[in-house]
C-alpha cells in the first residue's frame, strides 16, 4: 500500500513538473495535446489508422514468434526452444495472427474505406467504433502480457479441453487466452454491428445495394458473420472461464460434462471466422483487379451472390474440423459434402477475377501484383481444402504439416496478400502520398517467393509424416533438408516485412502529394481529396451507376454530382469515455487472470459505472459551418 501511495505522489509530482506547475490550465494542456486528440477520437479514419498501427505491431510480434518456431525446427534434435516454451510460441503465434493481426488490419481498411465508398460522413455508431478499437488493443495487450509475467497460453490456438482445463494446464497461462479473447471479442462484435448499421443505413442517394463496391459488400457479409459467429465463441469462452476460475464442470466427464462441447462451440465460431478474415480480402482483390485492368468487374452480380453464399455455407461446415472426433460416418459425410459445396461460389469468384483481367489494360502496380499473385496461391489453398474435406483423406492428413500448409495458403495467400494489396492501393487516399513502387515490388517478390518456399514444401513435410505442433524431429526421419528450406523461406518473408516498414518510412520522408485520384479509380472514395477531409464529403454525392466515379468520368464530369446543397455538416464530438470503459474491462481481466476476484469485480463495476455516466451524457455533436468547409476545400485544391 505504501509503495502505491509513493508511486501516485511521484506521478503527480512528475506530471506537475512536466506540465509547468499545477494550475487550472492543466486539463487544457492535456486536451490540446495531439495524443489526447487521437485517444478520444471518434473519426473513422483515425480509428482505422490506429487499428492499422495496432495490427502492424502484433504482426511483428506474431512474425517473431513464427521465426523462433522455424529456427527451432532448422536442425533435427535442436534444443533452441523446446517443450513448453515451444507450445507457448505456437499458441501465441496462431492466436495473435488470427485475432490481433488479421481481424484488426481488416477493420483498419474497413474503417478507412467503407464510409468513403458508400458516400457517408461517418459510421453509424462512432462511439461504439472507438470502443471496438480500444477493446481490441486491451485484449491484445492482456494476452501478450503473459510473455512479460511468464506462463503464456500453451494449449494451441484452438485451446481444446481437457488440455486447457485446470487439471492439465495449471497456473495463469490459459486465463490470458480466455480473458484476452473475451475482451477483444466484445470489441469485434461491436465493430461488426457498427458496420452492418452503417452499410444498411448510411448509403448516399442512389447507392442501392447492387451499386455498392465489392469491398463494401464483402465487409457487409463479413460483419454479418461476426454478428452470428462471435456469440458462440463468447459462450464457449464463458464456459471455460467458469470452469477454470470458479470450478464449474462443463467439460468434466466425471461430473457429467462433455469436452466435445468446447470443440463444437469453438468451430461453430471458428469456421465462419475463416470467412470473416478472407471475405474482405476478396473484396479488396476485386477492387484492385478491376481498377488496374481498367475494366468493370466481370460478373458483379454473381460476385455478390457468391459472397452471400460463402457466408451462408460458412455456418454449415464447422464439423469438418472434427472428422476424427468420432461423430460417425453419416455426420462426417454430411459435413464433407457441405464443405465441398463451398468450392463452387469460390470458383465463381476466381473465374470472375480472371475474366476481369482478360482483355483489360493491365497495369502491374504493387497492389495489382499482390492481387495477381493471390489468385494461384489461393486456388492452391482451395484445392488442398477440398482434399482435406474428404473424411477418409482427412484421417491421413489430420494434425500433420499438410494442414499447416493448407491454412497458411488460404490465410497468407488470401488475407495477408489482400491486406497488403489494400494498403498499397489505398495508402494515397489515407495519407495523401503513394508508397514507393520500386521498394513495393521488391517487397512483393521477396514475400511471394519466401511464402511459397516456406509453405509449399510443408505439404510434403506433412505427407512424409511430420505432425504439427511438435518441437523437433529425428535425423533419420529424412525431414531435415525440407525443414531447412521452409525455415529459409520464413526468413525471406521476414526480410520482406522489414522492407515494407522501410518502404513506409522512406515513402513518408520522400512524399509527393498526389491528387484525388492517383490510380484512375472507379469508386466514390477517389472523388474526394487525399487525404480525405475529416467530414469526408463537403456535399454528399449522387450515385448514378455501379462504379459511380468512373461513370461520371466517362460522362465527362470531373466531380460527382452533389445530392444536397452546401450546408453545415453535423459531426460527432470526441469522447474520452470509450478508452475509460475499456480500461475498466482491462483491469477486470487482469484481476481475474491473477485470480483476484476482488480486482476483477472492481474493474467490472468501474466499467459499468462509466457506461452509466455515458448514458446520461448530453452530447449531440457539433456542426461544421459552411465557410469552414469552403475554406478546407479551397485549401485542398490550391
Amino acid at each position: 500500500m505504501a509503495t502505491l501511495v509513493t508511486i501516485i505522489v511521484f506521478i503527480l509530482f512528475l506530471s506537475a513538473i512536466l506540465t509547468g506547475g499545477y494550475n487550472k490550465e492543466l486539463m487544457d494542456r492535456f486536451r490540446s495535446h495531439w495524443l489526447w486528440d487521437w485517444i478520444t477520437t471518434v473519426d473513422h479514419k483515425k480509428i482505422g489508422i490506429m487499428y492499422g498501427i495496432g495490427g502492424g505491431f502484433f504482426f511483428i510480434l506474431g512474425g517473431i514468434e513464427a521465426l523462433l518456431i522455424r529456427t527451432q525446427l532448422f536442425y533435427p534434435n535442436n534444443d533452441f526452444i523446446v517443450g513448453r516454451a515451444f507450445n507457448e510460441l505456437l499458441t501465441m503465434h496462431g492466436t495473435t495472427m488470427i485475432f490481433f493481426v488479421a481481424m484488426p488490419l481488416l477493420f483498419a481498411l474497413m474503417n478507412m474505406i467503407v464510409p468513403l465508398q458508400i458516400g457517408a460522413r461517418d459510421v453509424a455508431f462512432p462511439f461504439l467504433n472507438a470502443m471496438g478499437l480500444w477493446f481490441f488493443i486491451a485484449g491484445g495487450i492482456l494476452m501478450n502480457l503473459s510473455w512479460l509475467f511468464g506462463n503464456a497460453p500453451d494449449a494451441g490456438w484452438t485451446n481444446y479441453v481437457p488440455i486447457a482445463a485446470n487439471e492439465y494446464s495449471a497456473g495463469t497461462g490459459i486465463d490470458y487466452y480466455v480473458l484476452g479473447l473475451q475482451i477483444s471479442g466484445f470489441g469485434t462484435l461491436m465493430s461488426g454491428i457498427n458496420f452492418l448499421a452503417t452499410i444498411i443505413n448510411m448509403r448516399t442517394e442512389g447507392m442501392s445495394f447492387l451499386r455498392m463496391p465489392l469491398f463494401t459488400w464483402t465487409s457487409f457479409i463479413s460483419s454479418a458473420l461476426i454478428l452470428f459467429g462471435f456469440p458462440p465463441l463468447t459462450a464457449g469462452l464463458f464456459l471455460i472461464m467458469f470452469e477454470r476460475l470458479f470450478g464449474a464442470n462443463f467439460f468434466d466427464v466425471a461430473a457429467g460434462g462433455n469436452p466435445i462441447i468446447w470443440e463444437h462451440l469453438f468451430w461453430i465460431f471458428g469456421h465462419p471466422e475463416v470467412y470473416i478474415v478472407v471475405l474482405p480480402a476478396f473484396g479488396i482483390m476485386s477492387e484492385v483487379i478491376s481498377t488496374f485492368s481498367k475494366k468493370r468487374l466481370f460478373g458483379y452480380t454473381s460476385m455478390v451472390f457468391a459472397t452471400i453464399l460463402i457466408g451462408f455455407l460458412g455456418f454449415m461446415v464447422w464439423a469438418h474440423h472434427m472428422f476424427t472426433v468420432g461423430m460417425g460416418p453419416v455426420a462426417n459425410s454430411i459435413f464433407a459434402i457441405a464443405t465441398m459445396t463451398i468450392a463452387v461460389p469460390t470458383g465463381i469468384k476466381v473465374f470472375n477475377w480472371l475474366f476481369t483481367m482478360w482483355g483489360g489494360k493491365i497495369r502491374f502496380t504493387t497492389a495489382m501484383l499482390y492481387a495477381v499473385g493471390f489468385i494461384p496461391t489461393f486456388v492452391m489453398g482451395g484445392v488442398t481444402g477440398v482434399m482435406l474435406s474428404t473424411p477418409p483423406g482427412d484421417y491421413q492428413y489430420h494434425d500433420s504439416y499438410f494442414v499447416v500448409a493448407h491454412f497458411h495458403y488460404v490465410l497468407i495467400g488470401g488475407t495477408v496478400f489482400g491486406i497488403l494489396a489494400g494498403f498499397y492501393y489505398w495508402w494515397p487516399k489515407i495519407f495523401g502520398y503513394k508508397l514507393n513502387e520500386k521498394l513495393g515490388k521488391w517487397n512483393f517478390w521477396l514475400f511471394f517467393i519466401g511464402f511459397h518456399l516456406t509453405f509449399l514444401i510443408q505439404h510434403f513435410i506433412g505427407l512424409f509424416g511430420m505432425p504439427r505442433r511438435v518441437f523437433t524431429y529425428q535425423p533419420e526421419d529424412g525431414l531435415t533438408l525440407i525443414n531447412q528450406i521452409s525455415t529459409v523461406g520464413a526468413y525471406m518473408m521476414a526480410v520482406a516485412t522489414i522492407l515494407f516498414v522501410v518502404n513506409v518510412i522512406y515513402s513518408y520522408r520522400h512524399r509527393v502529394p498526389v491528387g484525388n485520384d492517383p490510380w484512375d479509380g472507379r469508386t466514390l472514395e477517389w472523388s474526394i481529396p487525399s487525404p480525405a477531409p475529416f467530414y469526408n464529403f463537403a456535399q454528399l454525392p449522387k450515385v448514378r451507376a455501379l462504379d459511380a466515379f468512373w461513370h461520371e468520368k466517362m460522362k465527362g464530369n470531373k466531380e460527382m454530382e452533389p445530392a444536397e446543397p452546401l450546408g453545415p455538416i453535423h459531426m460527432p464530438s470526441n469522447n474520452h469515455l470509450p478508452i475509460v470503459i475499456v480500461l475498466g474491462f482491462f483491469i477486470s481481466g487482469l484481476g481475474f487472470v491473477f485470480r483476484s476476484n476482488e480486482v476483477g469485480a472492481l474493474g467490472l463495476i468501474f466499467a459499468f459505472l462509466m457506461m452509466f455516466v455515458r448514458s446520461f451524457e448530453k452530447d449531440h455533436g457539433y456542426h461544421v459551418e459552411t465557410d469552414e468547409v469552403e475554406k478546407v476545400e479551397k485549401g485542398v485544391k490550391a
Binding site: 463444437h264 461453430i268 451462408f312 464439423a319
Partner: protein
C-alpha cells in the same frame, strides 16, 4: 416514421379481423397440443416433435400478427432475425445429435 402513421390507421380495421382470426387459430393450435398429450391420439414418440412444430407455427403468428413484424417494411431486419434463428436451430440440433 411520421409518414407511416396514416397508413397504419387505414389498416386498423382489417387488422382487427386478422387479430381475431389468428387468435382463434392459436387457440386451436393450443387445444391440439393439449389433446396430443392427454388423449392418446398420436403415437407417444411423435408427441414432442408435434408440439415443437405447433409451437413454431404459433411463434411465427405471434411475430407477424401481434408483434407487428412486417416483412415488407423491415426486410433486412427480418432477414437477419430468421438467418440467425436458422443458424441457431441448426447448431442446437447438431449439438443434440453429435455430442
Amino acid at each position: 416514421m411520421e409518414q407511416a402513421k396514416p397508413q397504419q390507421e387505414s389498416q386498423a380495421t382489417e387488422s382487427d379481423a386478422k387479430h381475431l382470426a389468428s387468435f382463434a387459430v392459436m387457440i386451436v393450435l393450443t387445444a391440439i397440443a393439449f389433446a396430443a398429450v392427454t388423449m392418446d391420439i398420436v403415437p407417444p414418440a411423435m408427441v414432442v416433435p408435434l408440439i415443437i412444430g405447433l409451437a413454431a407455427i404459433q411463434v411465427m403468428m405471434q411475430f407477424f400478427t401481434f408483434m407487428h413484424l412486417d416483412f415488407k417494411k423491415h426486410r433486412i431486419t427480418v432477414t437477419f432475425i430468421f438467418t440467425g434463428l436458422l443458424f441457431g436451430v441448426i447448431c442446437v440440433v447438431a449439438l443434440k445429435y453429435l455430442v
